[in-house]
């Protein structure tokens, strides 16, 4: 299905992604640099947007960095299908396995750290800040990798009910989560919001920072090489104002995460979420480098509490009887 869309759109896609526009002419005797094509990430594959649309990502000096997919509502729709399908697998994996996969993501990120640093540099970061952001992103994945098989223990309870029943409550993933990543940075914000969502067993569709989109797609490549089942994390690039309504009104999405303080955006999300009573998660943070933004409570933001009852047979013992 996805291949068909791509094939149909290929002439247009080829045109908008004409890398030659970006490349400078090589100096004599020097090798021509191969430029990277940034695509979107849906269901473990890297299609271009079905819409054939693109936008130019540039740095603050106005220098063009890349043509990015301007994802459409249909791309989002495809991503939700992929995320829903993947939820059956990812959501029922053993917590230990999820932790190891998050750790593997960190390993892969570490291995490609230089590439992220370079992308961050291109997107206006100083070397020091870029290195710091890349390192923090790796460490944040490790942090949540460790939580995968622990937060349930912190937030579960055995409830002492006043009858002959065993009763316990434990968190379960809420399902498919749409995430509008923090717009003010390229990598650490995205990692900080995706990690707790998937650590808890949800699958997600994340929309990258519009102005600093490069790292998001490179991060998708990290995901793709780190044992995360396809569809668990889907990453789109595009315009948040355009996509916000779809991220919040889709009837097969269970929760939406939003990281801007913009009251209009929040209102739209809250109103749309009422359609199927999506859980809405709003984060107030601006400094995504801060340790304050990582917490097992963030995992709980996209969890449901399930309470299970079962009778306890009471035979013999002190309460002699049947």
């Amino acid at each position: 299905m996805m291949e068909n869309i791509i094939a149909k759109k290929s002439p247009a896609a080829a045109r908008v992604n004409g890398n030659s526009k970006i490349a400078e002419k090589p100096e004599k005797g020097k090798r021509l640099e191969v430029l990277k094509t940034y695509k979107i990430y849906i269901g473990g594959k890297f299609p271009r947007t079905e819409s054939g649309r693109y936008y130019v990502a540039a740095n603050s000096a106005g220098e063009k960095l890349a043509n990015m997919c301007l994802s459409s509502r249909k791309d989002f729709r495809e991503a939700v299908v992929a995320a829903r399908t993947a939820f059956g697998d990812w959501g029922s994996r053993h917590a230990l396995n999820r932790g190891q996969i998050l750790y593997r993501m960190a390993e892969m990120l570490e291995g490609r750290k230089m590439q992220f640093i370079e992308e961050l540099l291109k997107q206006d970061a100083s070397r020091k800040l870029a290195e710091n952001e890349a390192n923090l992103s790796i460490d944040r994945l490790i942090y949540y990798a460790g939580w995968c098989d622990k937060f349930q223990q912190i937030f579960s309870s055995v409830n002492p009910v006043a009858c002959s029943h065993f009763n316990f409550s434990a968190p379960e993933p809420t399902g498919v989560v749409s995430v509008i990543a923090p717009q003010n940075n390229s990598l650490i914000g995205l990692v900080s919001v995706i990690a707790p969502v998937i650590a808890g067993g949800n699958t997600c569709i994340a929309l990258a920072s519009y102005s600093k989109p490069l790292c998001a797609i490179t991060f998708a490549e990290v995901l793709n090489s780190s044992d995360v089942p396809g569809g668990t994390v889907n990453i789109l690039t595009g315009n948040p104002d355009e996509l916000l309504p779809y991220f919040s009104n889709h009837m097969d999405v269970n929760a939406v995460v939003y990281c801007e303080k913009d009251p209009a955006g929040r209102k739209v999300i809250h109103e749309n979420a009422a359609l199927n009573l999506k859980r809405t998660v709003f984060y107030e943070d601006t400094n995504w480098n801060s340790k304050e933004v990582q917490s097992p409570y963030r995992i709980m933001d996209t969890q449901e509490i399930k309470t299970t009852w079962h009778p306890i047979e009471n035979i013999g013992g002190a309460k002699a009887g049947y």
Partner: protein, 491 residues
Amino acid sequence: MATKRDNTLKLKFDSARKLSPAPESRSSATIRPRYDLFINGKFEPSSGKKYFDTINPATGEKLSEAAEANAADVDKAVKAARNAYEKCWKKMPAKERGKYVFRIARMVQERAREFAIVETMDGGKPIRESRDFDIPTAANHFFYYAGWADKLEYAFPNRTAKSLGVAGQIIPWNFPLLMASWKIAPALATGNTVVLKPAETTPLTAMLLAEVIQEADLPPGVVNIITGGGSTGAALVNHPDINKIAFTGSTEVGKIIQRAIAGTSKKITLELGGKAPNIIFDDAPIDQAVEGVVNGIFFNQGHVCCAGSRLYVQESVMNDVVRKLRDRIETLIVGDPMDKNTDIGAINSKQQLDKINKYIKIGLGEGYDMYQSSCVLPDRGFFLRPTIFTNVAQSSRIAQEEIFGPVLTIQSFRTDEEAIEKANNNPYGLSAGVWTDKGSKIFNMTAKLRAGVVWANTFNKFDPASPFGGYKESGYGREGGLHGLQPYVTF
């Protein structure tokens, strides 16, 4: 030959239903002709001087009338709650706060009989249920949360919980006092003050609770109880000085409330509708499963958001289950809610009775086999026979929509996978039931059913220590237990 006989045999249960009347005495409770609003520790009429009738659904007669709070009354109540919050409740040592809640618990227990009688007369539920379930469970809920007041630092590791401020709480008519306790108890224990609106058709026990609260010497304004209909509720939801909305009721209204508060900083929890699947496997303890089905759908006339209204039976035991179910339904006593032997009382209102009958008509129109108890209904009031539909299609409206009455739909399934798939194939996710003697199957099922409460080999069990609340369109947030504290705090 044995099989043929199997299908023609019939047990006779007339005698089990025909018992001499055993009415609860009304003299243990006084219902006043009129109830005013409870604001800032005092009872006062609404500024609009308007009252609405509350009727006894078992007779259709007017029982009393309650003040209809308008926007000005709501404002007054919210101001009283704000004032009490800032000047008193917020600053009070937590253990003292807890002691007030303990005191309420005890006083509800002391006046339990009175509460039970009023609950039954106002709402139509059998006195057996209000006496043995609603009132004691409500008292226990206060008792449970009272003890949390000075222990909140243990509830949220590595965080410091703070109260939110003024909570606006709107509750339904199916468990009037119990729902009031579910709302008020955790709010007070965590240091919030409250404006509570009971349902229009069942205001009386909430006003009795207001008397208890007054008698308990709770500082004025900490709990305000205002009666009224939808417009009163809307005024409460939209009041700008409310920090938290807690609503239990229909999904339809829950969605309206969420839209209404969109763009504000109000915190919200919603406990909404349900269409719970109840799944019986062929290795289940069948008789206990049938009893669980009966408790699941006929408890409180089926006016239960977590009612087990969709029964899925493994094909090989379908006939057995249906016959046992029919036998059990024949023994249910339908009638005067004040009779101690009544199993199924009055439908809460004419409007609700009409709604249920509409669904029964749909079921009949779609040609499903319907079975109703052969009992005789009282000739006045709002009553309905316990009803089951068999061979219902998953796509039928009666199997998809919440009926909120004593109407059960039955479908068969063959494999575990089919059961899970059909059970989850619904917008709601409040509760679910599963019956099997096999432990490993129970854990597979309970893990895969997308519902906030899963009862295995039991159904419709509640406890103050047990969190309750839904997935999907059944709402969000939990009430009860440790997890019921979270909606009332911030960090």
